[in-house]
Symmetry: C2
Subunit: 417 residues, 2 copies
């Protein structure tokens, strides 16, 4: 289905870029980066800016008990299930200007283009900003979409603390009080007809292939664990190695054993230890505590379950003198998108003469929690060198505008005449 030409023309590359750059000022860090933690004053400022733009367009604004934010463009049938699009506005601590926020602003730009092109859709279109997708301030990520979809109860993370000791519940209550002027919806309502999320790829494939659009077919599963190795402090000069309970050395043994457990000659499995903390962390004292993170991902549910379930036992068996606790902090099985949304995205890209590729997502996204509720999918655009979660993260105004044009056309098709 070819999109109306006036819709494509109405997507304004410069306007979208300008909004992105204005958002990037809220939490700007050196090297063109952004640090905008969820539920922070900066997050509230960004949301107020977005709400202002939405109200100028005539959209209505609502939130919910987890501060997910909804901007509604009305359909000719207000009772029809809406088409939902969006992403998130929080960033990694040392993050970039596009991850998440572009998906929200692309939704806004697409809706604005639809309105300016004078296109009436039967279904409403809603733009959503999910709370805490990154998990940078409060772990894990995707809390907003997990609670909204019913994947986890909304009070699951009440006692999770940030680095300053603030609980998620306290930060959320403060945030909701500051947005008490917004109407608050029950979770999961209105149930969407379809969900489309636009996002930078966060990988090198589209750029390497000279492609414009990634048609996301599914998202690999992720399991996160926090491991604590408990040993005993000893003086580095006096205690024989044979008498030590050295948390650093047992951490090494544990990670080496996990490397063996997760070894994959096909290099499809992703196993990452990205976070390590040692205490008391003094050069002349044997460590009595080593804490590290495990990020395990695989597109095959069976592999993810089998290898992930083996982690605690493998760690215990690897230890020499210490003890370990293993806590799973995130568990999302792989999802495959039903064909409706990927097909609509593919038709839109083809009609606009763009080069596209069907591909899975290595990163997790809020979209995976919408899968049980409605046909879902994602649109990827290339990002430079595949880099994300870093200030140097970059997609060009042209690349982003192409993605938004595809999004706009897909939304019009999904929302119907």
């Amino acid at each position: 289905m070819a999109a109306p030409p006036n819709l494509i023309a109405a997507v304004d590359e410069a306007r979208q870029w300008d909004r992105l750059m204005r958002m990037a000022q809220l939490g700007a860090i050196p090297g063109d980066g952004v640090n905008r933690p969820c539920l922070s004053p900066l997050d509230r400022e960004a949301r107020r800016l977005l709400i202002g733009w939405a109200r100028e367009l005539g959209l209505t604004v609502a939130t919910d008990g987890l501060a997910n934010l909804f901007l509604r463009h009305e359909g000719t049938d207000p009772d029809a299930a809406p088409v939902l699009t969006g992403s998130h506005m929080d960033s990694q601590p040392n993050g970039g200007r596009f991850d998440g926020i572009w998906g929200v602003l692309a939704g806004l730009e697409a809706v604005q283009a639809i309105r300016e092109a004078g296109i009436a859709t039967r279904r409403p279109i809603e733009v959503v900003a999910w709370t805490n997708e990154e998990g940078g301030r409060f772990a894990p990520g995707c809390m907003g979409s997990m609670a909204w979809s019913g994947f986890r109860p909304a009070d699951s993370w009440d006692s999770v603390t940030d680095a300053a000791g603030t609980t998620f519940r306290a930060a959320l209550e403060e945030h909701l009080a500051a947005e008490a002027d917004l109407p608050r919806r029950p979770f999961g309502t209105p149930r969407p007809h379809a969900y489309v999320e636009a996002h930078i790829e966060q990988g090198p494939r589209l750029e390497a292939g000279g492609l414009d659009i990634g048609i996301v077919t599914g998202i690999q599963g992720s399991r996160w664990f926090t491991v604590e190795i408990h040993g005993r402090t000893d003086h580095a000069g006096t205690t024989p190695l044979g008498q030590r309970k050295d948390a650093v050395q047992d951490m090494l043994r544990a990670i080496a054993a996990l490397n063996a457990l997760t070894h994959d000659p096909a290099d499809v499995l992703r196993f990452t230890v990205g976070r390590v903390e040692v205490f008391p962390n003094a050069s002349n004292t044997v460590a009595n505590l080593a804490r590290f993170s495990i990020d395990l991902r695989h597109p095959d549910k069976d592999v993810l379950l089998k290898r992930g379930d083996a982690i605690p036992g493998v760690i215990q068996a690897a230890l020499r003198g210490c003890t370990a606790t293993v806590t799973e902090t995130f568990h999302a099985l792989p999802v495959t998108f039903r064909p409706e949304v990927p097909d609509a995205v593919e038709r839109a890209a083809a009609a606009q003469g763009l080069k596209s590729l069907r591909m899975p997502s290595g990163a997790f996204h809020d979209a995976q929690f919408l899968v049980p509720l409605c046909p879902s999918g994602m649109i990827f655009v290339p990002c430079r060198d595949g880099v994300s979660h870093h200030p140097s993260e970059y997609s060009s105004p042209e690349q982003l505008a192409r993605g938004t044009r595809v999004l706009a056309a897909a939304l019009v098709e999904l929302a119907g005449a």
Copy 2:
């Protein structure tokens, strides 16, 4: 040689304990610990307390260009080379109440007992508090004794910074300005006739053997290194393991190779990685920097030199995708004390009916930098469970008083009649 009985009786167990407990209030932390960083306001407060006690006794006070502090008891021959005793007043960040400070207060108590017993010695006796033995705020440790003995130039550490970014030079200048009322001596003067340092053992041997006194025969050598592994940040979900430059994984390879290099079936060599820092330290981001410390010790100079010199090459060979920089931050060869001081300590312990053991020191101490200048030695007392560098560090009032009685008798013998 038996000490005069009135000298032994004059060593006041309760007075020494009371002074230790008053010092322990300056920087007290939970669990009976102490955090008193060198050249801090707390350090100055502790030094003023010590100076007050010394002046009450009639001792004269001086400092030097590195803020080493000297309390002088005059001899019948004021021009004779003095006998020097002491230790340090700074603590580890999560330290105890006895490490260092007891050696200083034992010197004060011994001098007070000598004066109260009416014993005149030919040589002066000086009590010293060396600056920054621990290296807890500014690394490495032993700066005061290294500069005073000429082992390193006094400006060697000017640009070393603490965690807050303050340079050692700035902290030193501020400190010296606050002690401008004290006379300032040139380094290395007056050259001592002998040096005796009292210290808790920081190991389990004396307690396990039911012994009172350790007669320290020498100090093993220490080399410290800081290693930085430089890789590249990547998204944990999208980047195949084969394409990563993962600083955590290459750090593991480097430490595993170092474990092999330093393997010692006799368990005499000490190899410790006590400090580990990873950046950006996010669970879903491959680390681009891993920094770790190496603490290598051995009583045999040849082993220490050979294994230590091999470290950079072994690390380089172990890396898969990253690069490494290796910086040596401390290098002190093993020392063996000449017999004069250990023999005097042994005679004093035997004359008092105390059970003693000749033993090397696993920890380094300021004493090792005095070895080139004069006959030197140390007196160890047991500490509970061998624990030090921790709030639970403990020696009893009785154990400490026994050590001070041995120190007093040894000082009288070394200072001569």
